[in-house]
């Protein structure tokens, strides 16, 4: 008997290049395409109205395209785990297909559904099509750990076979004898809901700058390629005032929801390049946008705490400030810096901002000015940004706040100068902050410096009609750069005066580090040196030494997982190097500045002592770890609708 299939849509909202969907119809009697939507979850979720609208438009488009094949989309109200068993029975299902989801929550959810399906005797087929590569393969190639620098990632990619070709678009021919049984009341039961039905107030909602759906995505990609062909040299486009605005050739939200296949994009780019450049083979930089996305998916796939600072092994612990008022000012575009406020307004209104604009606001919130945790910014983006994806969003925030991925932190985007360089005339500001329209270009980025007469002529008094700047940028960046330096110098054990050398060099394959760690030091990093950042230190050690210190790793993992701040480490004030209690660490040139010769612990360390100490640590930490695990098991289980 030919099977009855369900194809479960989550991301991958498309009929083109959808291998799992293709499997669903292969030799099947019936196929039903379902999408789960929990109306209760919709209202309470952290996702803003623009993103919901985009999703609903994608679903409507999907439904419209399925109708052309005499099929329909079944939007099911509820949670998959609750509803699937009923559907399996009701529709006599014997095959379930879906696209592979690489994110930790998705993997957990899918594992549960797989189990459920197996118990019901349903065959499950999963296909990778949201990413170009099999991420596990990349990790395997890197020795079991995800690559933490983009360069390393590129090296690994170049050793892999090119991505698989896109599969054929679902068509009448492919459908063959396979049909979709549709009931009379399909619209009532399974129709795509409206925003109002989901409880959103749509009055005064401006029309979508980014209309969702596969059809739109396919028109856009053609235009995108036309423009690329027009530019022809394929070089990085120079930033200008125009690039800040939503472009009809932008693709990121469509890739995010899978309205556009990344593989289709990849191969269209390749073809175009070959055509224009006469068959020379394209450089990796051609696929930049796609590869960055891939990089963050790879980094996140096995790390359920990728979106957190605490308990995230790749995230540097930075003592961010908790400051809800300042955060609200940033999120609502009331910082008093027109450049920042205009970007945040654009984000709120349209759901998309240019990537350099993302850098600007992210830097401002975190290490640049406000010193507020990147997690807070990430949550705001998750609500507002159409292309915000769990992995890419968290990864980019960690990157921009210099919390991971070995970033140089010296470069802070100036909330005045950066905008002025990009758009000297200030048209972008005037578009999104009409209140500042009257200011001349000279003052539009720092209106608080305008003489009163200019403010009066512009009909906008700073402090009355538009806020004064919420921070003194020069002072804030002085403080913040100093703090980043201290944190990184502790991590890297760099003892000199240089700013650049505090971040280990990650050039080449990651082994070209300027900081050489002796094996002895590696051992110590596990035993005595506390530290809050010991897990990160370990990554640094691995990075810089090529890393094979399994013993150290276990110990410091235990330490970091124990979740307790340990107090035996202090900082040498002259160079911020870490000095440990035993004084052996005093290799810096400032013996007077901390533990000095009078310390009785100086002296050759005995191997036995180290071993004994490690034994004690593991004893203590085992207990702590168990406690810790118990405390942290209650992770959110709510199904991430999208």
């Amino acid at each position: 008997m030919a099977p009855n299939s369900i194809h479960w849509f989550r991301k991958g909202l498309r009929l083109h290049d959808n291998p799992a969907l293709r499997e669903a119809v292969r030799g099947a009697d019936t196929v039903r395409c379902v999408y789960f939507l929990d109306p209760w979850f919709a209202g309470s979720s952290n996702v803003g109205v623009s993103r919901w609208r985009f999703l609903l438009q994608c679903l409507e488009d999907l439904d419209a395209n399925l109708r052309k094949l005499n099929s329909r989309l079944f939007v099911i109200r509820g949670q998959p785990a609750n509803v699937f068993p009923r559907l399996f029975k009701e529709w006599k299902i014997s095959r379930l297909t879906f696209e592979y989801d690489s994110e930790p929550y998705g993997k957990e959810r899918d594992a549960a559904i797989k189990k459920l399906a197996m118990e019901a005797g349903v065959e499950v087929i999963v296909k990778i099509s949201h990413t170009l590569y099999d991420l596990d393969r990349i990790i395997e190639l890197n020795g079991g750990q995800p690559p933490l620098t983009y360069k390393r990632f590129q090296t690994l990619i170049s050793r892999l076979d090119p991505p698989e070709m896109p599969v054929e678009t679902l068509s009448d021919t492919l459908m063959g004898r396979c049909v979709t049984p549709i009931s009379e009341d399909h619209g009532d039961k399974y129709g795509v809901p409206s925003l109002e039905e989901l409880g959103f107030d749509t009055e005064g909602l401006p029309s979508a700058v980014w209309p969702g759906g596969e059809t739109k995505a396919l028109t856009r990609i053609e235009r995108h390629l036309e423009r690329k062909a027009w530019v022809a040299n394929f070089e990085r486009p120079r930033m200008n005032a125009n690039s800040l605005l939503a472009s009809p050739t932008g693709l990121s939200p469509y890739l995010r929801f899978g309205c556009l296949s990344c593989r289709l994009f990849y191969f269209k780019l390749t073809d175009l390049y070959r055509k224009v450049k006469k068959n020379s083979s394209p450089p990796l930089s051609l696929y930049g946008q796609l590869l960055w996305r891939e990089f963050f998916y790879t980094a996140a796939t096995n790390n359920p705490r990728f979106d957190k600072m605490e308990g995230n092994p790749i995230c540097v612990r930075i003592p961010w400030d908790k400051n809800p008022e300042a955060l609200a000012k940033w999120a609502e575009g009331k910082t008093g810096f027109p450049w920042i406020d205009a970007i945040m307004t654009q984000l709120r209104q349209e759901g998309w901002i240019h990537h350099l604009a993302r850098h600007a606001v992210a830097c401002f919130l975190t290490r640049g000015d406000l010193w507020i945790s990147w997690e807070e910014g990430m949550k705001v983006f998750e609500e507002l940004l159409l292309d915000a994806d769990w992995s890419v969003n968290a990864g980019s925030w960690m990157w921009l706040s210099c919390s991971s991925f070995f970033q140089q932190f010296f470069h802070c985007y100036c909330p005045v100068g950066f905008g002025r360089r990009t758009d000297p005339n200030g048209d972008f500001i005037r578009r999104y902050l009409p209140v500042l329209r009257g200011f001349p270009a000279k003052y539009i980025y720092d209106p608080w410096n305008a003489p009163e007469s200019v403010q009066a002529a512009a009909k906008c008094i700073i402090g009355v009609h538009y806020p004064k700047p919420m921070v003194h940028h020069a002072e804030a960046s002085r403080l913040n750069i100093e703090r980043m330096k201290q944190i990184y110098q502790q991590l890297s054990r760099y003892r000199g005066l240089g700013l650049l050398a505090s971040v280990p060099s990650t050039n080449g394959n990651g082994n070209g580090g300027m900081i050489a760690y002796s094996p002895g030091e590696q051992q110590q990093s596990g035993t005595n040196n506390n530290t809050n950042n010991s897990h990160c230190r370990n990554h640094f050690v691995q990075m810089t030494s090529g890393g094979s210190s399994s013993g150290t790793k276990t110990v410091s993992c235990l330490l970091s997982h124990s979740g307790f701040a340990v107090l035996c480490l202090t900082t040498c004030f002259s160079c911020a190097c870490s000095l440990t209690c035993d004084g052996r660490q005093v290799g810096c040139d400032h013996p007077w500045s901390l533990v000095s010769g009078g310390n009785p612990w100086c002296g050759p360390s005995s191997r036995l002592m180290v071993l004994l100490a490690r034994f004690l640590i593991s004893m203590a930490s085992l207990i702590q770890r168990r406690l810790f695990q118990r405390g942290h098991r209650n992770q959110p289980t709510a199904d991430q609708t999208f």
């Binding site: 990537h355 993302r358 945790s373 020069a474 240089g498 050039n507 209690c581 007077w592 203590a620």
Partner: protein, 410 residues
């Protein structure tokens, strides 16, 4: 209790030795490898281990972490532990630092602890605000009286880090009166209540001072001359922050002769300067030779100023430029490569350099460039090199693999 059980089984199965008979010296040696919390667990095992836990040697260094749940994500040092330390170990403390979050309560708590440290003799003290400068929010009198407790009682303070605090001239006088023979390091960037005369008094009296950090408005010719007087030891680091309070601020100049005196006295000293100025405020800087070794420009700096840097900073080791206008920095970089023969580290953020000028720069500096951090956007492809070619060319001259820094396209 769990731990004890575990110990027992280990004892039975693996060894026959009696853990309680481990000599104290050995135990101490082991304990020093353990973080405090693990030591605390171990101290519950038996009386001997408990005694070891309280040995003075284990309490010389301490870092107080004072955070409020409302303003920090990090854990704080437990209040009971703080009480214990003040009661039992305050006379053992020698190397103490306080890390406080952005709340005034935390800074006040730090001051309260400080004022209880009457019977201890500190060698180092650091007051570190981890988020915002919260010591500035504490009533000045409260802060000063807490700090003077330490100054008066310590007598042998050698390092003091009090950046972003309301320390003032009279309290520095107390510091000098009690610790002038021992003071070697003083970091006090952004201490608005200190005057040039106040810091001059420190430099005059503390002849062992080797490291000093302060803001530009405290820097004077007199201070440099005092630091380079015959009785004074060689200075090792001088860190100057040049911060603009409001646009168009005017800055004084330092005479070339004062810098010359400094270099004659301490030929190896490092001068680290951080600039946070508007472009039009650089007038008084880099017109004469200055012995700066590490230069950081936190805001946009003009081509012209960078040109002057190339002419007047022969000792330059590290240069970091966060931003510059839209005109390429080609000639400026070449000039810097030519005149700054010590330069070994450079970082460029929002700047522009043509690829061929950059290659020329790297070629001139060669392998001494151990740090080369250039944002990808900085490099403008030209007729000679494309972006794909440049990393080969640069790697060749550096003798190691090099790539420009990238930001995610997101």
């Amino acid at each position: 209790q769990k731990k004890k059980k575990k110990k027992k089984t280990k004892q039975d199965t693996i060894t026959d030795c009696d853990w309680a008979r481990l000599p104290q010296e050995l135990l101490l040696h082991i304990f020093q490898y353990l973080p405090l919390l693990d030591r605390a667990y171990a101290s519950q095992v038996c009386r001997g281990w408990n005694q070891a836990f309280h040995m003075p040697e284990l309490w010389r260094c301490f870092e107080f972490e004072l955070n409020q749940p409302a303003s920090s994500y990090l854990k704080a040092t437990h209040p009971d532990l703080i009480k214990q330390i003040i009661k039992r170990h305050s006379n053992h403390l020698q190397y103490v630092s306080f890390k406080v979050d952005s709340s005034t309560e935390s800074a006040e708590a730090a001051c309260d602890i400080l004022s209880q440290l009457v019977n201890c003799s500190l060698k180092t003290l650091g007051l570190i605000s981890t988020a915002r400068p919260s010591f500035m929010e504490v009533p000045k009198s409260h802060f000063i009286s807490a700090l003077t407790v330490v100054f008066v009682n310590s007598k042998s303070l050698s390092s003091l880090k009090i950046d972003d605090t309301p320390v003032d001239d009279p309290s520095l006088k107390v510091l000098v009166a009690n610790n002038s023979d021992t003071l070697k390091l003083l970091k006090m960037s952004s201490c608005p209540h200190v005057s040039p005369a106040g810091i001059l008094c420190v430099a005059d009296q503390c002849h062992g001072l080797r490291e000093l950090a302060l803001n530009y408005h405290l820097l004077s010719d007199e201070l440099l001359l005092a630091l380079s007087s015959e009785r004074h030891v060689h200075l090792e680091h001088l860190r100057i922050d040049v911060v603009s309070e409001n646009p168009g601020q005017h800055f004084h100049t330092i005479k070339k002769s004062s810098w010359d005196a400094m270099v004659r006295h301490s030929p190896k000293f490092n001068l680290v300067m951080y600039f946070f100025l508007y472009e039009d405020e650089f007038g008084p800087f880099f017109n004469d030779e200055i012995p700066v070794t590490h230069l950081y420009f936190g805001r946009s700096v003009s081509k012209e100023v960078l040109g002057r840097v190339g002419l007047h900073c022969p000792r330059l080791v590290e240069l970091v430029v966060c931003a510059n206008g839209l005109r390429p920095l080609d000639e400026e970089l070449i000039r810097i490569a030519k005149h700054c023969t010590q330069l070994s580290a450079i970082g460029l953020g929002e700047c522009e350099v043509s690829c061929s000028a950059f290659v020329e720069f790297v070629k001139m500096c060669g392998r001494r460039l151990s740090q080369l951090s250039i944002m990808e956007e900085v490099l403008i492809p030209d007729h000679k090199y494309s972006l794909d070619e440049i990393h080969w060319e640069v790697s060749k001259h550096l003798g190691r693999v090099w790539f420009p820094d990238m930001m995610p396209t997101w």
